[in-house]
């Protein structure tokens, strides 16, 4: 089946999934007790029943839930996620301000975790019972088990305060100008958050890659590669690794949602100006349109991530290309 056909098919599935997510999110938020009007009233130090009803009517919250849902879905299809109750700004605008920061963090952490995890896995599979293999496993499990905010704070203390290699917070140094210096500044700020977020996933990827490599190294075609007289490096990195990758890539695709929820915490620890911080404040303020908007974009990132995973798998394994 052609590449474009698959792309079109997956995109269609993705859109349908997005619609389902939209409806589900909206319904679940409305099932929870309390709304923004309660928060406003609380901020005002209490309000009369008439005033509360008036505010509800203003926001359209007095209509039946099904009508609200219909209106919401219709507006989303016009790329309008509504007005934030709390910030009193268009939600789309706020999200687009912050989305690039989150995307940068999520994708760089994911790539970092994959590269390091795969290399560690390949290394550990060479001598599966060697002492170094066990050290790798232990190290990786530590990253997996440690709470992400704790890892983050520890890294901050170590590499920002004790040894001031990296900045404490934020995304860029506002004093630098020009494209390249700014990009370097962002990269500099990115290092610690990326390490923190990636450290959770290194363990997963390296463990799976190790298991997958061990299986592949015992296969007949690896024996064939050795019988050709190839060097150990060619046997491992060319013949074995490419066959060991598909399970790791598949897992990475499934982990996209976990990376995004991890990002919320990491952004808070490092004051990274992404969606995570916005999510936290809007949840506390019961700012439904903003929450829904963020959930919508999170779902979008997960779906796009999975689409990318599928495409990468097709690149790696020709046998997948034959199937729908």
């Amino acid at each position: 089946m052609g590449f474009l056909v698959v792309l079109a098919q997956r995109t269609l599935y993705g859109l349908l999934l997005l619609l389902a997510v939209l409806v589900l999110n909206f319904t679940m938020i409305n099932l929870a007790p309390g709304d923004v009007v309660d928060t406003i009233a609380a901020d005002m130090g209490g309000a009369s029943a008439e005033l509360v009803a008036q505010i509800r009517a203003e926001y359209g919250l007095d209509q039946p839930v099904i009508v609200q849902l219909g209106n919401y879905v219709w507006r989303v299809f016009q790329f309008d996620l509504g007005q934030s109750y709390f910030y009193n700004r268009p939600v789309t605008e706020m999200i687009f301000e912050r989305l690039p920061a989150t995307l940068l963090l999520v994708f760089s952490a994911q790539i970092f975790a994959l590269v390091v995890g795969i290399l560690l896995g390949v290394f550990a599979a060479q001598r599966p019972n060697g002492i170094l293999s066990h050290i790798v496993t232990l190290f990786a499990l530590f990253g997996y088990a440690a709470p992400v905010f704790w890892t983050g704070i520890l890294l901050l203390i170590a590499f920002s305060l004790k040894i001031p290699l990296f900045p404490v917070a934020g995304m860029r140094d506002v004093t630098v100008e020009g494209f390249l210096p700014q990009a370097l500044s962002v990269a500099h700020h990115l290092v610690l958050p990326m390490l923190t977020l990636g450290s959770i996933f290194i363990a997963l990827y390296s463990r799976l890659c190790r298991a997958s490599m061990l299986e592949v190294l015992g296969s007949d075609y690896v024996r064939t590669a050795k019988a050709k007289g190839l060097s150990p490096r060619d046997v491992t990195m060319k013949h074995a690794l490419k066959n060991a990758l598909p399970p790791v890539v598949t897992l990475a695709g499934l982990q996209f949602s976990a990376v995004i929820s991890g990002a919320v915490l990491v952004e808070t620890v490092f004051s990274w100006p992404g969606l995570g911080q916005l999510a936290l404040t809007s949840i506390l303020a019961r700012d439904t349109p903003t929450i829904l908007g963020i959930l919508f974009f999170s779902a979008l990132v997960v779906i796009v991530g999975n689409l990318l995973t599928d495409l990468v798998l097709r690149l790696i394994d020709p046998r997948v290309r034959g199937k729908a």
Binding site: Y221, K226, A227, K228, G229, L230, H239, R319
Partner: protein
């Protein structure tokens, strides 16, 4: 005679096991002259493959050469540095393996896998290596070699993949080609083609060949000299003509005896008279189709079984023979309702099998049981042998629960196992014993029809003979009826009363055993029979 190209002297190979180092090859000496074909023959576990891997320096991690020398061009390969060994591997000595389906890397094109060897050993540039790879594919008779070089292994048949392996092994014009059971996984007609190709190429390139096999027929047709191995030791060696005509060791004799003689002995055909009863199994116009492609809801159907009809008398055996993809297994599984048939009628014991549904179908399964090919994967590794045999009775039998364990013990005895072995797990049995468990399981519900789906194909020839004897004894004692699916004409000839030959979903020839084997009517059957390796070519007939 010139000096041998390769000589193995007093070789001892040991494997590390929980009980310490265990020898798998002991005191083995053999030599290979330039341009000749030496065959190493023996059953699995005889150490023949380990010997080949030791020559390549490819012993598994737990193995090592404990004593002896492997001399190649004046150098002892067991003492060589890994880098020096890698210059010989794939360059001076090429190797092809048993499993063409898994021996090629699935994620690289076949052209790349051949070109890689040329780039690595001969420092050829990418374009030149690719062009040479295409030439090699052409030499191993892959049609449209230029176009096929860019395809992946999964887009090729088993025979074609083995041709690619041969092209790869011969790419650098090695002095020695080691072929480890190169055709065991292939159909008999494909085997004949591969052997033709190997003979021709070896002659052309003056490559000496070490051919590892378990089949004396193959030895007779391919080799100049032969070494017979048993349990890691050489029991006998010599030229093929000497060894086959004057075997000294009993083991060699039994190997020669296991080669099928497809010239049938004359039997009186009393079976014709007895056909008064309705046949136990009657199949009419059975058709099985599979959807192969689904594209936006459109389905294309592949017809695996194309309206076939046959009968099996009670207490008799019908063999369905054919090559892989002929539909023989699909047809049998459709009879057992394990795959769905699209059309036709299957009447077993006066029951219309294809119309049964739900509980009636479930109960009918007691009457038809299957023995599968691979005794290693068809038994649940987490269940004890006794539980495996008991399970069908728990599900289907009308035997009271209290009597079932006694029945299991009885079945174990019937198939030649000890009842005490009920408590062991499948991995604690040998391949032959596992197949006995499968047989006991199949017998447990007292079925009237047993389908043997390549039931002995995965076993060594001598074990194979034992299992076939057991099946015949059980048939006689219990009045069993077999539907015997096999690609092995030698086995079929020993087992069956009637034969149906299948080709591409159709039965192309159907008749009594003698009729089909003695005077095949169809070209396809004749080719199939001719492709079976036999020892006839080297048997010396005394002058009259």
């Amino acid at each position: 005679m010139s000096a041998p190209l390769l000589s193995v002297e007093n070789l001892r190979i040991e494997l590390a096991t929980r009980g310490g180092m265990v020898p798998v090859v002991d005191d083995l000496s053999l030599w290979l002259n330039p341009g000749e074909t030496l065959s190493i023959v023996g059953e699995s576990g005889s150490g023949k493959s380990m010997t080949a891997l030791a020559v390549m320096g490819l012993l598994p991690r737990i193995g090592r050469v404990a004593a002896g020398r492997i001399m190649f061009e004046g150098q002892d390969m067991t003492q060589m540095e890994d880098a020096a060994l890698r210059r010989i591997r794939g360059n001076q000595i090429g190797m092809i393996f048993q499993e063409p389906m898994t021996s090629l890397n699935p994620v690289y094109t076949v052209g790349e896998q051949i070109a890689e060897v040329l780039r690595h050993h001969q420092n050829q540039g990418a374009a030149q290596a690719w062009a040479n790879a295409v030439d090699l594919l052409d030499a191993v008779r892959i049609p449209n070699a230029k176009g096929r070089a860019g395809t992946y292994p999964h887009e090729m048949s088993g025979g074609q993949r083995q041709r690619v392996m041969i092209a790869m092994a011969l790419a650098c014009r090695p002095k020695i080609l080691i072929a480890d059971e190169p055709t065991t996984a292939l159909d008999v007609t494909v085997q004949a083609e591969i052997f033709d190709l190997m003979r021709e190429l070896a002659k052309e390139t003056k490559t000496a060949t070490i051919l590892i096999t378990h089949d004396m027929g193959v030895v007779a047709e391919m080799a100049d000299r032969v070494v017979v191995m048993l349990k890691g030791e050489k029991v006998e060696d010599g030229t093929v003509t000497d060894l086959i005509n004057r075997p000294q060791h009993d083991y060699t004799k039994s190997l020669i005896a296991s080669v099928p003689h497809l010239t049938p002995e004359t039997r009186d055909e009393s079976e014709v008279a007895a056909q008064v009863d309705q046949p136990l199994l009657s199949v009419r116009d059975l058709t099985v189709q599979f959807p192969v492609k689904k594209r936006w809801g459109k389905r294309e159907m592949f017809t695996a079984v194309n309206g076939i009809s046959f009968d099996v008398e009670r207490g008799k055996t019908l063999a369905i023979v054919g090559e892989s993809g002929s539909g023989k297994t699909t047809a049998a599984l459709a009879v057992a309702r394990l795959v769905a048939a699209q059309a036709g009628h299957v009447t077993l014991d006066r029951t219309d099998m294809l119309t049964l549904e739900g509980e009636a179908l479930r109960q009918a399964r007691a009457n038809v049981q299957v023995i599968f090919q691979d005794p290693y994967s068809s038994l649940n590794p987490r269940l004890r042998a006794g539980a495996i045999v008991r399970e069908p009775m728990d599900n289907l039998g009308n035997l009271p629960a209290a009597q079932r364990d006694a029945r299991v013990a009885e079945l174990f005895e019937q198939v030649g196992l000890e009842p005490a072995q009920m408590h062991l797990f499948p991995h604690q049995f040998s391949g032959g014993q596992r197949q006995r468990i499968s047989i006991a399981r199949a017998l447990s519900t007292n079925p009237s029809l047993i389908i043997c789906d390549e039931a002995v194909s995965a076993l060594d020839v001598i074990i194979q003979a034992q299992i076939l004897d057991l099946l015949k004894d059980l048939q006689r004692d219990l009045d069993l009826t077999y539907l015997f699916i096999s690609h092995d004409l030698g086995v079929v000839q020993q087992m069956c009363d009637d034969v149906a030959v299948m080709y591409m979903g159709d039965i192309v020839e159907y008749g009594t055993r003698n009729a089909v084997f003695a005077s095949p009517q169809q070209d396809y059957t004749r080719n199939l029979l001719a492709a079976v390796p036999s020892v006839e070519s080297v048997i010396e007939h005394p002058a009259p």
